[in-house]
Symmetry: C2
Subunit: 303 residues, 2 copies
C-alpha cells in the first residue's frame, strides 16, 4: 500500500510518502502564494502526483491519502471549513481528491486531530489509546483520542477548548473567542497585556518581560498557567487519558511551565485519574501536521 | 435472542426481560438486605434465573445480559468497584456471571453509562449518536455517548464531572469531592448551606427556602445554576453533542431551572456547538438504570 500524508498550512502544502512505521520516505512542497478555492484543491492533487512520480508509482495504484487541514473536516460529507483559505468555507475537498485519484482511500482531519494521531504514532504518546493534545497557538483547540478512536461529535467540532468556561462570572470580553482562549492563547495573552502595557505587545514580548521579572507580565502568565492547569484538569476528569500533551506555538516559550501546570491541575482533577496521567510537551518534529497526516493515512487502512 | 437487563441499586436488584425495542416484558426484584461480597453476585444470578424461568426459557439458551452497577465497571478485566456494596472494591462480577451462564454475552457498565444508553434508546435523546447525561444527585457524574459509542478512557473513569474546575483560585474545601460537586450536587448544596444556616439543612430544604424567597438559599441556588450552565457549556464545547440531559435526584427540584441553565451555558459555549445542542431534563421512567441495562444488553448484541 502507498501512504501519502498532506499537510495544508496557511502558506504552503507539505506532502510526504510514508512507510507503515510513519517514517518519511520522500517529500514534496508547494507554496500557496495566496491562492484560494479550487486552485488550492488542484495544488493538493499536484503534490500527490509529484510524490507518486518521485516514488515511481503508477497513479492507478491503490493508495491511502491522509490530509490535515487548518480548520474543520466534516466527516459526514467530506467538505472542509478553512477560514484562512479564500473560498474554503465549505469546500468539497474529499470529492475533489476522489475524482482525481479514484483508487484511493482518503481521510481528511482537522489539524488538532492530526496532531494527536501524530503524537500517538511517533511522538511522546506513542502507543497510547487515550491521549489529549492541547494546541495553544493563536487560538486553543484539542485533538482527542479516547478508547483508540479520535472523536468527531455531532458536527465535527469537538475539542473547541478555547471556549472552556473557567472563571465566573461571564465577561463580555470573551464573546469573540471564549473565556480560556481570551486569557491563555497567544492572542489572549496579547489582549490581556494590552490592558496594562501602553505600547502594543505580542505574547512573545510578555514571555520575555516575564523572564525579566516584570510584575505585569508575571500576573498575566501566572493566570495563563492557572488556566492551562484547570483546563488540563478538566480533560483528565472528563476523559481519563493516559497523557495530556501541550503543543502549538506557545509551547514553545511556555514549555518550561509544564511542571507548574501539572501541579495546578493536580489540585483540581479527579485524584485517581490525575495520578494515572502524564503531562508532556510535544516532541513532534516541526511538521507535526505532516506526520499526523501520514498517521491518518496509515490508520485509515487499518480500520 | 434473550435480552436481560439488571440494575444493581443500593438496596435492591431489579431485573427485567426486554424485547429489541427496549420494552420490558417481565420483571423480577430481590432485596439486598445489607448483603455484600459473593452473596450479592449470587443474588444477581438468582434474578437472572427467575427471569429465565418466568420467560419459559432454558438456561442454556443464548442470551445477552446487561448490568448497571452503582460505581465503576472495569471493561478490561470485568471487575467492578461499588463503594456501597460491602466487599465490592474490586469484585469479579463478569467472571461470576460467565461461570453461571456460559452461553451469554455479558456487559457491565457504570450507572451513568447506563443512563445515557437508556436515554438514547427510549428517552428524550432517542436516536442521538452524540449526547451527554449529567447525573446530579449526592454526587455528579456524566455518561458520555459520542460518535455512537460510550466512552471508557484509560481506566474506565471518564465523566468524573464533579471534579470540574470552574472557579479559581483553588479552595481546599474542594479536596474531598471536587469544585463543581462541592457547590452543585445534593451534598454540595447542603455543604454550602451549612455555612449560612445555623441548623442542619438538606439540599431539598434549600430548594424549599429558595421558593419562599430566602436570600441565603437564592445565593446558593443561583451559584449552582451558574455552575450547571458552565459545566454543560464545557461539555458542549469539548464534545459537540446533540443534547445535554440533566438527571439524578436534583432534577427533580432543579428541573424548573433548565432554561436558566441553558441561558448561562449559551454565554460560555462555542457558539455553533451550542446552537446545535438541546438541553433537556430526563424523562426516563423511575428505573432509568434498569432501562439502561436493557439497552446495554441489546446494544451489546448489535456490536
Amino acid at each position: 500500500m502507498i501512504y501519502i500524508g498532506i499537510d495544508l498550512g496557511g502558506t504552503k502544502i507539505s506532502g510526504a510518502l510514508f512507510n507503515t512505521n510513519n517514517s518519511i520516505l520522500l517529500r514534496e512542497t508547494l507554496l500557496l502564494e495566496g491562492k484560494g478555492g479550487e486552485e488550492v484543491g488542484k495544488l493538493i492533487c499536484k503534490v500527490c502526483e509529484e510524490i507518486l512520480k518521485k516514488g515511481g508509482f503508477d497513479e492507478s495504484d491503490d493508495k491511502c491519502i491522509g490530509v490535515c487541514v487548518p480548520g474543520i473536516s466534516y466527516s459526514k460529507n467530506g467538505r472542509v471549513w478553512c477560514p484562512n483559505i479564500p473560498g474554503w468555507e465549505n469546500y468539497p475537498l474529499k470529492k475533489e481528491l476522489e475524482n482525481r485519484f479514484p483508487n484511493s482511500n482518503i481521510t481528511i482531519e482537522s489539524d488538532r486531530t492530526a496532531y494527536i494521531l501524530g503524537e500517538v504514532s511517533l511522538g511522546v504518546a506513542k502507543g497510547c489509546d487515550n491521549a489529549i493534545f492541547i494546541a495553544v497557538g493563536t487560538g486553543i483547540g484539542a485533538g482527542i483520542l479516547i478508547d483508540g478512536r479520535v472523536l468527531h461529535g455531532a458536527s465535527d467540532i469537538v475539542g473547541a477548548t478555547g471556549w472552556m468556561a473557567l472563571k465566573p462570572p461571564y465577561n463580555k470580553e470573551w464573546d469573540t473567542c471564549g473565556c480560556f482562549e481570551s486569557h491563555a492563547s497567544g492572542t489572549g495573552i496579547a489582549m490581556q497585556a494590552g490592558k496594562v502595557y501602553p505600547e502594543k505587545v505580542t505574547s512573545r514580548d510578555v514571555f520575555e518581560a516575564y523572564d525579566k521579572g516584570d510584575p505585569r507580565a508575571i500576573a498575566i502568565i501566572d493566570e495563563a498557567i492557572e488556566m492551562w492547569g484547570m483546563a488540563a484538569a478538566n480533560f483528565v476528569s472528563l476523559f481519563n487519558p493516559q497523557m495530556v500533551i501541550f503543543g502549538g506555538g506557545l509551547f514553545g516559550p511556555a514549555s518550561k511551565f509544564i511542571d507548574r501546570i501539572y501541579n495546578e491541575a493536580r489540585k483540581w482533577a479527579q485524584p485517581i485519574a490525575i495520578n494515572q496521567c502524564k503531562f508532556e510537551v510535544t516532541q513532534l518534529p516541526n511538521d507535526a501536521g505532516l506526520y499526523g497526516a501520514g498517521a491518518i493515512a496509515i490508520k485509515n487502512e487499518q480500520e
